[in-house]
């Protein structure tokens, strides 16, 4: 599958999606072209739009990595969302409990606390998977709901800010807030942290024995065992790494964007991470691109509503379509003739031949 046809597939896919979405936008009484211009230009080429894209991209990237690493070890972590919440909780609790450290000391500690929180939340399914063979998908999934309720309790109870009209905590002290990357915007350095993690993990997987072994376990557990890799330990390691990454995503939301711990502070970033991860074909180094794509899409969607007034329901449809068709475009057929069309055409041709022969006979 050479790159040219690849690009063409993407183009065709997008066109299809957008024309279907365009019809809905028309039905909704707006100009599709205007809407699309906003959707694609504002989120990347516009100063504010792009900063917003970056704001969303950083948790998505970390959440994506939190799926990629365990998946490379054959563990399917859909618990990113829960790990984000617990990470955010730990980070916030630390920040609020010890409010007066210098930033250079406090921020790293908050990250560590958050990572610990996420790792702790991931350790439970990891242990159950490694030592009891319990299916990790269900455990991580259930624990997401539990985590959200735990945070809900924390911010409505013990952490509730004085007289707050909604469940949220007090503000974290100035010193702990992540520096702003793009002036006058809310784009904090979280994305830089995410990129650093990306590079580190990419090299770890590719150039270190431990990373290489982790990958083996995911590809063929028996072969990995035959190569002397301890599968249980590897699974646990992978999940702990994944959990910590998601946990830091939580911290970033708290000390980078909201400065408080909020009820429902993560809007499904953990699940976005799954999309990020698989669109990137589980390759860390590609994850930033897919994260940017997804973030840009959702940022642009918001702008579409504000600038053009497109109904949010229509926007969701367009988002869904774009993701599906980009995913379709990114699928690389393993062999040349995966298309069924050719055999079918041949099938027809031959049928006709045989009929002709029958006639002649």
């Amino acid at each position: 599958m050479n790159r040219f046809t690849m690009q063409r597939r993407i183009a065709i896919a997008l066109l299809l999606a957008l024309s279907v979405g365009g019809v809905l936008i028309l039905l909704d009484g707006h100009n599709p072209f205007e809407a699309y211009e906003v959707l694609f230009l504002e989120s990347f080429l516009n100063y504010w739009g792009f900063s917003n894209t970056l704001v969303k991209a950083s948790p998505m990237l970390l959440a994506g990595l939190a799926v990629i690493i365990p998946m490379r070890a054959g563990v399917f972590n859909i618990g990113g969302e829960g790990q984000i919440y617990i990470g955010g909780l730990f980070g916030a609790v630390f920040a609020l409990a010890i409010p007066d450290l210098p930033g250079l000391l406090g921020v790293p500690l908050i990250f560590i606390a958050a990572a610990a929180g996420g790792a702790f939340w991931a350790a439970i399914p990891a242990y159950l998977k490694a030592y009891r063979g319990t299916n990790e998908v269900i455990v991580t999934l259930l624990m997401n709901f539990i985590a959200i309720h735990i945070v809900s309790y924390a911010v409505a109870g013990p952490l509730l800010a004085e007289g707050a009209p909604y469940p949220y905590s007090e503000e974290v002290s100035e010193a702990y807030r992540l520096p702003i990357l793009i002036p006058r915007s809310d784009t904090h350095v979280g994305i830089v942290f995410g990129l650093a993690m990306t590079v580190i993990l990419y090299f770890w997987l590719r150039f270190t024995p431990s990373g290489f072994h982790l990958d083996l376990v995911g590809r063929n557990a028996r072969a990995a065992a035959y190569a002397g890799v301890d599968q249980k330990k590897t699974i646990i390691r992978a999940m702990l790494i994944g959990g910590s990454l998601a946990g830091t995503a939580g911290a970033i939301e708290v000390i980078g964007l909201k400065y408080r711990l909020f009820h429902l502070f993560s809007d499904g970033y953990g699940y976005d991470g799954i999309v990020v991860a698989f669109l990137a074909a589980l390759n860390p180094i590609v994850a930033p691109l897919t994260a940017l794509f997804l973030a840009g899409l959702s940022a642009g969607a918001g702008t579409m509503q504000r600038a053009v007034g497109v109904d949010s329901s229509v926007i969701e449809v367009v988002e869904g379509l774009v993701v599906v068709l980009v995913a379709a475009a990114l699928v690389t057929p393993q062999t040349k003739s995966t298309s069924i069309l050719k055999p079918l055409a041949k099938n027809l041709r031959l049928r006709r031949q045989t009929q002709r022969q029958k006639k002649e006979a």
Binding site: L264, G302, R306
Partner: protein, 292 residues
């Protein structure tokens, strides 16, 4: 004048968000506003959405719900020229106004009606999630009910979800099976489920936001938190450019914004009179419901 409202949920939720949406659009038409809205805006986007409207030159940007308080404060500091408003917010600044409801007050009245109409001596209230709005409402409701009947038992159910209709129904059925014969659901879409249960089990319900008896025959009384009306009152000021960073609190004294609905025919005149007395007492300030 251009105004934009940012809502946490869907504009067709039969509840808080729908009320806010209609409030702005209706008032907008009446007062010649250019009105814009964003629905289902979640935590991480609040700041960006509010800022973006300010950037796009809207004169008034409304955060619809207490969850916007913090984001509005942050954004308002950046756009001193723009006027901001939080519905159900907390506190004010030069360019942050706050439109609040005296929830416990009207809840007290609902509680009083429920308490006096309950034969079983058990009534219920259903809420999605614990925070100022709901806790005040529950407190007022209980106080009112006790005022009508000191022995009354008030069941409280938290569903954790504003829009899960099935859960809303289940919650109501549970309260009814526990003997509640008056149920007040205060969620959004989920309210429909509860009302369905009320209807099926033939007990009484209490409406919220609008005069629900028009849709559900078994409604004793409705707590009309008229977000439309409330917004109308401050939007008029905004139109005249007189809107200040003040607290626009809707209480029983402000008919346009907060009032009770029509009484169910089953309610004896006596009770009606008492309720009206209570309202007068509230207006005159002789009756003060807590939390304020």
């Amino acid at each position: 004048e251009r105004a934009a409202i940012v809502m946490p949920g869907s504009i067709s939720d039969n509840g808080w968000n729908q009320a806010g949406f209609e409030g702005l659009t209706k008032a907008g038409e009446a007062l010649g506003f250019e009105a814009a809205f964003s629905e289902s805006v979640h935590q991480p986007e609040q700041i960006e959405v509010l800022s973006d409207y300010a950037r796009r030159g809207y004169d008034l940007v409304i955060g619809h719900g207490g969850e916007f308080q913090d984001a509005v404060e942050r954004v308002a500091a950046r756009f001193p020229e723009t006027m901001f408003m939080v519905n159900n917010g907390l506190g004010t600044k030069d360019n942050i106004a706050n439109a609040d409801f005296y929830f416990s007050q009207i809840a007290y009245l609902m509680g009083y009606v429920a308490g006096s109409m309950s034969d079983t001596g058990t009534i219920g209230i259903i809420a999605a999630q614990q925070f100022k709005f709901t806790t005040d409402t529950v407190a007022g409701y209980e106080a009112g009910a006790k005022a009508a009947n000191p022995e009354v038992r008030v069941l409280v159910t938290w569903t954790g979800d504003w829009d899960d209709i099935a859960k809303g129904k289940e919650a109501a059925l549970n309260q009814i099976s526990q003997g509640a014969d008056v149920v007040w659901p205060t969620m959004d879409s989920a309210t429909l489920g509860s009302m369905q249960a009320v209807q099926e089990k033939g007990v009484y319900g209490i409406g919220i936001y609008r005069d629900a008896i028009n849709e559900w025959p078994k409604i004793l009384q409705s707590a009309i938190l008229d977000v439309r009306g409330n917004m109308r009152s401050y939007l008029e000021l905004a139109a005249a450019g007189k809107l200040e960073g003040a607290l626009y609190r809707a209480d029983m004294g402000n008919e346009l914004a907060m009032r009770i609905g029509s009484f169910h025919p089953d309610i004896p005149v006596g009770v009606v009179d008492e309720v009206n007395k209570l309202i007068d007492a509230m207006k005159s300030g002789t009756l003060v419901v807590h939390p304020q």
